[in-house]
């Protein structure tokens, strides 16, 4: 664990601080002030991402530090969920934003790296972007699954969906993105390495996480809301496998493969 005494580090710490302040403001029912802080945190996250972009001279999605920096810009997903999907959890999003920026601020190395030849492809940005978006939606879905298991429901006046339905709806948004991430990765693998499926550990864990959600969607189709706790467990299992795919596969020595460049500690 290291503190980054750089402009990049400072921007990350400001974002984390704003997200946490927003979280506390929301907890203490200062909703409008909390929302303002959350928005300012998002602006800081965008500036941080833009600064990194300027610094490394390519879209910063190359390694875990940059992916987590990107994950920190969660605010538009919160708005989309609240006003389009009628799903709450904005307070939790503030926490998610702070949590995902923590490894970027204190754990992963921010050393700028040039893009290796394999990453110099038009598929680089869409592949990572859809994955990052899907991970945020799935993380939110898992949060609502936990709420369902804890028996928490939104207040009646908020006009928000109950947690089980929120989990399903968020998965409905995230699953096509997850699939596109897998498909774009496969097409890219074909262009770069000659095979659309290389049986690499990262690919297999990505397939495993996709299959958990396939299972969830089939199970929910079979039983609807008859077994809400099992539905929630599916969604939590999904995000668990995603975390393994994103972190363990890149950082562990168990899984050497073509995606190892993603890990820089």
């Amino acid at each position: 664990m290291e503190i980054k005494y750089t402009i990049q580090g400072l921007l990350i710490y400001i974002t984390i601080a704003l997200y946490l302040l927003a979280l506390f403001a929301s907890i203490f029912r200062l909703k409008k002030f909390g929302h303002l802080l959350y928005f300012l945190g998002f602006i800081a996250a965008v500036v941080s991402f833009g600064y990194r972009w300027y610094h490394v001279r390519h879209v910063p999605m190359q390694n875990l530090f940059e992916v987590f920096l990107c994950l920190g810009m969660i605010y538009p997903v919160s708005l989309f969920s609240r006003y389009v999907l009628r799903i709450g959890g904005q307070t939790a999003d503030m926490l998610i934003g702070a949590v995902v920026l923590f490894p970027a601020g204190f754990i992963f190395s921010a050393n700028p790296l040039k893009l290796p030849p394999a990453l110099q492809s038009w598929l680089f940005v869409p592949h990572v972007t859809v994955y990052v978006l899907s991970y945020i939606f799935m993380a939110k879905a898992a949060f609502h699954a936990v709420l369902q298991l804890l028996g928490k429901n939104p207040r009646s006046g908020d006009n928000l969906l109950p947690p089980e339905e929120a989990t399903y709806r968020l998965t409905c948004v995230g699953f096509p993105l997850l699939t596109m991430g897998l498909v774009l990765g496969s097409v890219w693998g074909k262009r770069a390495w000659g095979d659309y499926w290389g049986w690499d550990p990262k690919e297999l864990w990505s397939l495993a996480s996709w299959l958990v959600y396939v299972g969830y969607l089939h199970f929910r189709y079979m039983f609807g809301k008859k077994h809400p706790r099992i539905n929630s467990i599916w969604a939590i299992a999904g995000i668990t496998v995603i975390v393994v795919t994103l972190l363990w596969v890149n950082l562990s020595r168990f899984f050497p493969g073509l995606h190892s460049y993603g890990a820089t500690m």
Binding site: K114, C172, V173, R191, G194, G224, G257, L258
Partner: protein, 335 residues
């Protein structure tokens, strides 16, 4: 539906197991006879599912998703090693599933070393006009003192960099692609040899605070090398931006196609794809290409398209649009 759930769960556990095997063993495992049977069962079940569940036919989005999966699996089986072997036995179509070619600069070859280490021949030859490696600019000289001070200096001939009052300054004198000191004659002068070989190096001058000047050579292949009495550790580092093979396709003695291939930009010709795979790391005289057959690829890509379109249609348009929300509500109430 339970059968589908069972197969999905089984495939999940197989994927996790395969992840622990590593790419090579996982590939063998998933292409083994029992797993080939598993894939066939998966396809049959998907087809049966479409036949049995009327909803899958009534809803085009769901049909696209499931038919897309069938296309992906079918294309993968068609393009697999076993698919190639089967086609050769049944239809007499002889195609190399995958392999490698080693081609020297200025030569052409049609021999492919297949994955089972057999030498097979393509119906055309691939010629290598030139192979080169490009690097990001600027290149850097990294300097570190024994006390842990650290400097990064862009490599530019004639550039001078002041390090500190303690260590003085350095000047970049010369850049070598292939550093050599000929052993003939009395004078040992470093030259940049245009012949085969690769030994990138820098000639630098270190001027100490008291004005003493020493010449040092820094080799890319010896990063951080220092003698016992040296104060500074020097590393010459270049970052590869691209590997480029200038290829020609020769058929009946005539050049029928040309392409400079790079990573992410393969050559496609005659039902095969040619990828930049490796190169002669000692002297850069030859390139190694990966050759793969394109059998089944169109089917797989069509499946991907169907899957993605079907999912967006079903989950985004049907479920989340205004009408979709009503359906979702009705479904929720019904269950």
């Amino acid at each position: 539906m339970w059968a589908a759930m069972a197969l999905i769960t089984l495939l999940f556990f197989l994927s996790v197991y395969g992840a622990f095997l590593g790419p090579k063993r996982a590939k063998e495992f998933f292409n083994s006879i029992p797993l080939t049977v598993f894939w066939l069962v998966f396809i049959i079940l998907l087809i049966a599912g479409i036949g049995l569940f009327r909803r899958l036919i009534r809803k085009p989005a769901l049909l696209l998703i499931h038919a897309g999966c069938i296309f992906v699996f079918a294309g993968a089986l068609w393009g697999s090693v076993k698919g190639h072997t089967l086609r050769q036995k049944l239809l007499g179509i002889d195609k190399i599933p995958s392999g490698f070619m080693q081609i020297y600069e200025g030569h052409s070859d049609n021999r492919v070393i297949s994955q089972d280490e057999q030498i097979r021949e393509l119906p055309f030859s691939i010629g290598l006009k030139d192979f080169r490696i490009e690097h990001y600019k600027p290149e850097y000289l990294y300097i570190q003192s024994r006390q842990g001070d650290y400097w990064r200096c862009p490599v530019e001939i004639g550039a001078e960099y002041f390090l500190s009052p303690e260590y003085g300054m350095i000047k970049i004198i010369r850049v070598f692609e292939n550093f050599k000191i000929p052993m003939q004659g009395k004078n040992r002068i470093a030259v940049d040899d245009p012949g085969p070989g690769s030994n990138p190096a820098l000639e630098i001058q270190i001027v100490s605070p008291n004005g003493e000047s020493t010449t040092r050579y820094v080799f890319e292949h010896l990063p951080g090398h220092m003698h016992p009495g040296d104060e500074l550790s020097l590393t010459y580092q270049r970052v590869i931006s691209e590997y480029i093979s200038e290829l020609q396709v020769v058929r009946n003695g005539k050049v029928v196609a040309e392409k400079d291939i790079q990573v992410n930009h393969p050559l496609r010709y005659g039902g095969y794809h040619f990828y930049q795979q490796d190169y002669d790391r000692q002297a850069g005289r030859y390139t190694i290409l990966e050759v793969t057959s394109d059998s089944g690829l169109t089917c797989v890509y069509a499946g991907y398209m169907m899957l993605c379109i079907g999912l967006c249609w079903h989950f985004w348009i049907n479920k989340l649009s205004g009408k979709g929300k009503q359906i979702l509500k009705a479904e929720a109430k019904g269950k």
